[in-house]
């Protein structure tokens, strides 16, 4: 084995990110590392590249134990890393990037000609012929990614870690990068490949290791593993379990509220059509990186869509910005509550009043008594556990923060509410309450879009589930066809 990891353990305050994980990498193989959010992939990689120190366990490279303290040290040991965001400098030339720190010199000065010749030779190894004297920034991401790989291999040369290298590439570019990766594998490098794109993993890799909640779930040869099984390992639930179903109830005929037609954006999600009914809950399912969150953000106008249109019964809506979306009666509770959702230092009252105040304009403040009434109202209705409405929201538990964020949007009385991972980081009791709340709101006629990585939650709450894979809407499930099995099959790419 080229690289052997045994019992690797790493804890952070309040959580165990890696729990006695074993991992092997042979020379001349591409080994995929898979897992959902919080599985421990990035922690594992950071322990390898020296960004983190491990708490316990053993990492051995070619039989010798190593403990890198920095990326540079890991590199010198032979472990190179290429990230999704290319870690090269767009304002330097290709040659400067490739040869940085190792420039050939003559009389103490950089020998430009020798440097360019060497850079060209390096790239020729990968079958790439470009003008190495141009700025890196003038080349496509795929070329940059290959240059990053070339540099990492030249500096390290034993183990290459590819951390989502294809996340911003199109299909043809992915092919180019894979070509390079295969060459390196045939040259005897050990390659760790982290990606959310299952098709790519099956296309490129020899073995797969799945992590979940900091533990290694399985390591298997790709030939011996079927996709549904793999999804199961990643999402962590057996197909036999039955879940309480919202949609088993007879699907009601609903008037349409919104039509999204051909809405999409390059690099985020391919154009999709979606109709949302009044009082309907639409669930978005898919693996991390499949385009779930991107769909939600496009619908709220957080990023302008490229082409397509959105209509309601009265005609087209221009959702060019969140402001426009709010004016059209949309609400959005984002995935990362801590950074995007709450203003931690402000009180519950102020957080709830925030969006409504923004719509009224700052020149017309909401009277304090009105704010108080509103806050008390929602604290009671949503059962927000707090000592009072003036408590800073940052001091509440996750579930109660989430309820306050919901209250903010409910105060606006939206007709369409988008919830991205509404129950992330929330305890079980609050979890159920939030799902109940969603049902109650839709019973009152509000339409809701729920993005979630938890299948049970989606199944429990959705009237209809849209499944995404590799940034495309690949399936739409309704009524009794919504089940963990059908969703997993759709994610795995089998016809549901």
């Amino acid at each position: 084995m080229l690289l052997t990891i045994r019992n690797l353990t790493k804890s952070f305050p309040g959580m165990r990110a890696l729990d006695a994980v074993d991992f092997d990498l042979a020379a001349g193989e591409v080994h995929a590392l898979l897992g959902e959010n919080g599985a421990g992939k990035s922690t594992l990689i950071k322990c390898l590249t020296g960004a983190y120190r491990r708490d316990a366990g053993r990492i051995a490279l070619e039989g010798a134990e190593i403990t890198p303290h920095s990326t540079v040290e890991a590199q010198d040991l032979g472990i190179g890393t290429v990230y999704q965001e290319v870690n090269l400098l767009p304002n330097l030339t290709v040659a400067q990037n490739l040869m940085f720190g190792r420039e050939p010199r003559r009389f103490g000065l950089i020998d430009g000609r020798a440097m360019r010749a060497e850079a060209r030779a390096m790239l020729a190894d990968y079958g790439i012929e470009i003008d190495v004297d141009r700025d890196l920034g003038s080349y496509s991401v795929a070329i940059r990614q290959i240059i990053a790989i070339a540099r990492a291999v030249a500096l390290s040369g034993k183990v290459l870690i590819l951390d989502e290298p294809t996340a911003s590439l199109d299909a043809r570019e992915v092919g180019m990068v894979f070509e390079v990766v295969r060459r390196l594998r045939d040259r005897g490098l050990g390659i760790i490949f982290v990606s959310h794109f299952l098709d790519q993993v099956f296309d490129l890799c020899d073995r797969i290791t799945v992590l979940r909640n900091g533990r290694r779930i399985v390591t298997e040869r790709i030939a011996d593993l079927d996709r549904v099984k793999l999804i199961e390992h990643m999402l962590g639930r057996a197909l036999e379990d039955e879940v309480e179903h919202r949609a088993t109830r007879v699907p009601r005929a609903r008037p349409d509220l919104l039509h999204f037609e051909g809405v999409g954006r390059r690099g985020m999600v391919e154009p999709f059509d979606l109709t949302v009914g009044k009082g309907e809950v639409v669930g978005l399912a898919g693996l991390l990186g499949s385009g779930r969150t991107e769909t939600a953000e496009l619908m709220f106008g957080l990023h302008p869509a490229q082409g397509g249109q959105v209509r309601d019964a009265d005609g087209p809506l221009a959702l060019t910005s969140p402001r426009a979306a709010i004016a059209a009666g949309f609400g959005f509770a984002p995935e990362d509550r801590k950074t995007d959702g709450i203003v931690a230092e402000l009180s519950i009252r102020e957080n709830i009043a925030l969006a409504l105040q923004a719509r009224r304009g700052w020149a017309r403040p909401i009277p304090r008594t009105e704010q108080n009434r509103m806050a008390d109202d929602y604290i009671r209705q949503l059962d927000i556990r707090t000592s009072g409405r003036e408590k800073p929201i940052g001091e509440l538990s996750g579930g109660n923060q989430q309820k306050a964020v919901l209250a903010r949007w409910l105060a606006m009385n939206p007709r369409f509410l988008i919830l991205d991972e509404p129950t992330r980081g929330i305890d079980v009791g609050a979890h159920a309450e939030i799902l109940r709340l969603i049902r109650r709101l839709t019973a009152e006629g509000m339409s809701v879009l729920v993005v979630s990585s938890e299948l049970d939650e989606l199944i429990a709450v959705s009237d209809r589930v849209i499944v995404l894979r590799d940034r495309r809407h690949v399936a739409e499930l309704q009524g009794t066809r919504i089940s963990p099995e059908t969703i997993m099959r759709a994610i795995a790419g089998e016809v549901a």
Partner: protein, 324 residues
């Protein structure tokens, strides 16, 4: 053609066109005399602007240089008046002092992760204050060595005089070009300006590079101070007020990106000469107020910022268009 060199070409083109206009109106302006005067009159600015270019390339800024020039003049004048030392050791002492001052600011910027703007702003007040501490009035320099420095020149063909300080400025520009484009230190400056995080990952020694570049800027500010004292023959604590901003303007007009990571030392020379040319034109004209210099410089700055913005848009849209 490299897009990043476009601002440089634009600068050169503007300089040539401006010179051509001047020549059409006043044929006498096309002479080595005018060129010699351009170099002499702007020698201190050119020297300090080279240091500023390197600092800006690395993603920083140095607001202290104008005050350091004033301090240098005062330091030299007072030392020569009160100690009887020869100017040469005084120069060495001064350069060590200003380099150390720059290095200290670089150290603060790096170690405490403080914005260069604030640290060098503090440095600006400090150096100006120190200049006033020496004495508050203008002190003439009457050392015979200074007379020699002031009258040393090389007669160019066409009777133009390349003075010692003008020649020194050209040498500094050449040295700056070699440093920026031909050494690892220079590449490190571009790397830091392109992205600190990435530069560190690629192995740039950030602390060393930051301290060095501010020390270098301090050194050149001290050298500019010497040149300025030779040029004016005195030290005065109120001199060179706002020179740091003029230098920044020259750097930007010279095609260097104010946010760092892209630009050329040679462009800065052209930027300095362009500004000097406008001044000369106004002198030749005789009827224009010299404040027109400021107005034209303002317009040029605006033009270059717009040009760089446009180039950025252009390269982005070219990428989005699927170019490789």
């Amino acid at each position: 053609m490299k897009t990043r060199a476009l601002p440089l070409y634009a600068t050169i083109a503007i300089f040539i066109v401006a010179y051509a206009i001047c020549w059409l109106q006043f044929p006498a302006m096309l002479s080595t005399r005018v060129v010699g005067n351009l170099l002499t009159d702007n020698a201190y600015l050119g020297i300090v602007a080279v240091g500023m270019t390197l600092v800006i390339l690395s993603g920083g800024i140095d607001l202290s240089v104008g005050s350091v020039i004033a301090f240098s003049g005062m330091f030299i004048a007072v030392m020569l008046r009160d100690t009887g030392l020869h100017p040469l050791p005084v120069f060495l002492l001064l350069l060590a002092l200003t380099s150390g001052f720059g290095a200290a600011m670089g150290w603060l910027i790096d170690r405490l992760a403080m914005p260069a703007f604030i640290v060098t702003l503090a440095g600006m007040f400090l150096a100006r204050g120190a200049a006033y501490m020496l004495t508050i009035e203008s002190v003439p320099i009457q050392h015979p060595f200074y007379k020699a420095l002031q009258s040393a020149y090389w007669l160019m063909p066409g009777k133009g005089r390349l003075t010692l300080i003008g020649g020194l400025m050209v040498l500094v520009v050449l040295a700056g070009m070699v440093l920026a484009h031909k050494t690892r230190f220079g590449t490190s400056l571009y790397a830091l300006g392109g992205g600190e995080q990435t530069a560190r990952l690629m192995g740039v020694r950030q602390g060393r590079t930051t301290i060095l570049v501010y020390a270098l800027s301090g050194l050149l500010a001290g050298l500019a101070g010497i040149v300025f004292s030779v040029y004016t023959g005195s030290g005065y604590p109120l001199s060179a007020v706002g020179t740091e901003l003029t230098a920044i303007a020259a750097v930007v007009i010279g095609g260097t990106l104010l946010s760092g990571g892209a630009g050329y030392v040679f462009g800065t020379l052209i930027g300095v000469l362009t500004m000097g040319l406008i001044q000369t034109y106004i002198v030749f004209d005789g009827s224009l107020s010299s404040w027109w210099t400021k107005i034209v410089i303002g317009l040029l700055l605006l033009l270059f910022i717009l040009l760089q913005k446009g180039l950025l848009k252009l390269s982005q849209s070219r990428l989005a268009g699927g170019g490789t």
